[in-house]
């Protein structure tokens, strides 16, 4: 199992989409850092809010990477090759899930750390570092960790949908349809169901303030709910993977 996991981690790290999206994120950070340096006096105390504001990018990247980690394998037929080496499908899917989710978590943390470094340089050069104390560091670390965790959960959503649909596009399409159609319909027709909507819980989890948008729901409860949905989807996808034909 360890060998399989190591092999999957290598594959994840070498994926073109991982490299392209990471490169785009790094490029975006560099460009943003230069623009901020030239146009603003950045206050480092605002860094936790900057992280919250940029989380949507990381959540989208997480969803895409999770989806492509299995969708591309189905599309190209690599799973047939792997299953002729390890026929225990539970192990194969578990290794892929762990590798892609761990990869997304580490990548999210690294990107946020890079963003922090870029903005710290801006703040030290032209802005202000006042208020960047231990409490600020703890808050920044907590927000970054929650964003990374949520990116990982979203990667799980993408992985599960792509595994079930055997295609990356299925996961991306289903995600878009859910966010744009289902959630808006629910908000309009059944507003009392809002506590079960993914985006409302995600917002609460990222903001990190109890009762931000869902009365009676805590940050931890939101995180647990989102993780449970992700786990449920992954278990369903793994169950399907175990019983369906690989043709």
């Amino acid at each position: 199992m360890i060998a399989l996991l190591a092999s999957e981690l290598r594959r994840f790290r070498s994926r073109r989409l991982v490299k392209v999206l990471t490169g785009l994120e790094v490029l975006g950070i560099v460009v943003a850092g230069v623009i901020v340096f030239l146009t603003q006096e950045y206050d480092l105390a605002a860094f936790p809010n900057t992280l919250r504001g940029s989380s949507l990018v990381l959540l989208s990247v997480g969803w895409m990477l999770g989806a492509s980690a299995i969708g591309a394998e189905w599309h190209a037929g690599h799973l047939t090759t792997i299953l002729t080496w390890e026929p225990r499908r539970g192990r194969v899917i578990l290794a892929k899930i762990v590798a892609s989710l761990a990869g997304v978590f580490v990548l999210s943390l690294a990107v946020q750390a890079l963003l922090g470094i870029a903005l710290a340089i801006d703040a030290a050069g032209r802005g202000s570092t006042t208020g960047a104390d231990a409490a600020w560091f703890a808050e920044s670390a907590a927000v970054a960790t929650r964003v990374a965790l949520l990116s990982t959960i979203f990667a799980g959503f993408g992985f599960a949908l792509a595994a079930a649909g055997r295609n990356t596009a299925v996961a991306l399409g289903a995600g878009f349809a859910y966010l744009v159609i289902v959630e808006n319909l629910v908000r309009g027709l059944r507003p009392e169901w809002a506590p079960w909507l993914l985006t409302d819980n995600a917002a609460l989890f990222i903001i990190g303030r109890t009762d931000f948008n869902l009365p009676g729901r805590t940050v931890v409860q939101s995180g647990v709910y989102l993780a449970a949905v992700g786990l449920g989807l992954l278990l369903g996808a793994a169950g399907l993977f175990r019983v369906r034909d690989v043709t």
Binding site: S14, T81, W85
Partner: protein, 315 residues
């Protein structure tokens, strides 16, 4: 005795194997329909059939990639549920082998080798074995179809397998590559391994395999040593060539020997063991042969005779 220990009389056993694919509209496609097959240990076994006969589905069932709808299949004595206990002794290619195009050939093999804990030097050995050692460090996306096929064969050989299952291994290979694969299969068979090779290139199988099974419409229509299948596929006969074909036909007819002429030769409907009777009959009438040989079928003829008819059944 299996090459790597453990007594196994038949390395592949299929009993009434059946596979149906259900479609969304409710109809069913029967890909394999009660297939019985036993592949003995050692040598090259050809698995022949036209497109849609069920060859690849059978191989997928054996490797646990698809679940049979009925019947049983065993690989090295193990049911699909226990496949992981023997998969380390089985190398395989299913259809076109898929590798990561943006990895080098070597890296692809190293990733697979890592799963089984195979040493790195083995990767170098198999790359040499399939003549890819000089291109091993190039990206797979730069490989030709034939090179990808050779890389797939290298992957199948990585485990130093007791049983090789190769699904159309000559696909995409140029004539030199086909000869190389043929030689490789022969050598592996001589080493005591079992090579189970599905193919529609009949001459390849005829030159390589010790035994064959011919599949049609999801069932075995002939199986056994190649020469026996050839004999069973059509009536044995003799081909006679002589200057006076009309006189020869008349003489044979007067002697009660059934014969027909075609393209300047006479086809005699007697087994090769009766050749002396034919020569004596003709010589008694002053007709002397310029050629006498048995009317041997090639595998292609037998294959076409046995497999003619509709392919996969839709219900």
């Amino acid at each position: 005795m299996g090459l790597y220990g453990g007594r196994v009389d038949a390395v592949i056993e299929l009993e009434g194997l059946r596979k149906e694919y259900r479609r969304l509209r409710g109809s069913t496609t029967v890909a394999v329909d009660g297939l019985d097959l036993s592949v003995p240990s050692g040598g090259v076994f050809g698995f022949l059939g036209p497109n849609g006969a069920g060859k690849t589905t059978t191989i997928r069932c054996l490797l646990g990639l698809v679940r049979p709808s009925g019947g049983r299949c065993r690989l090295l004595g193990r049911e699909p549920a226990d496949l992981h206990r023997v998969i380390g002794r089985v190398g395989s290619i299913v259809e076109s082998p898929t590798m990561y195009p943006r990895f080098t050939g070597r890296r692809n093999l190293e990733l697979l080798a890592r799963i089984e804990g195979i040493r790195r030097s083995r990767v170098r050995e198999v790359l040499e074995e399939v003549a890819l050692d000089d291109r091993g460090d190039d990206l797979v996306k730069t490989y030709s179809l034939g090179m990808k096929q050779r890389l797939g064969i290298a992957a199948a050989l990585l485990k130093d397998p007791e049983l090789l299952i190769l699904d159309e291994p000559a696909n995409g290979l140029d004539p030199a590559g086909i000869v190389e694969v043929r030689e490789l299969m022969r050598r592996l068979g001589r080493e005591g391994r079992t090579v189970f090779v599905s193919s529609h290139i009949l001459t390849e199988v005829q030159q390589t395999a010790d035994r064959v099974a011919i599949l049609a419409r999801g069932r075995t229509v002939a199986t056994g040593p190649v020469h026996e299948v050839l004999m069973a596929g059509r009536a044995a006969g003799l081909v006679v060539r002589l200057d006076d074909v009309a006189g020869g036909l008349r003489a044979l007819g007067e002697a009660g020997i059934p014969a027909t002429s075609d393209d300047g030769v006479i086809h005699v409907d007697l087994p090769p063991g009766d050749a002396a009777r034919v020569t004596r009959t003709l010589a008694d009438r002053g007709l002397y042969l310029t050629e006498l040989r048995s009317d041997e079928a090639d595998l292609e003829t037998v294959f076409l005779e046995l497999t003619s008819g509709p392919g996969t059944q839709d219900r």
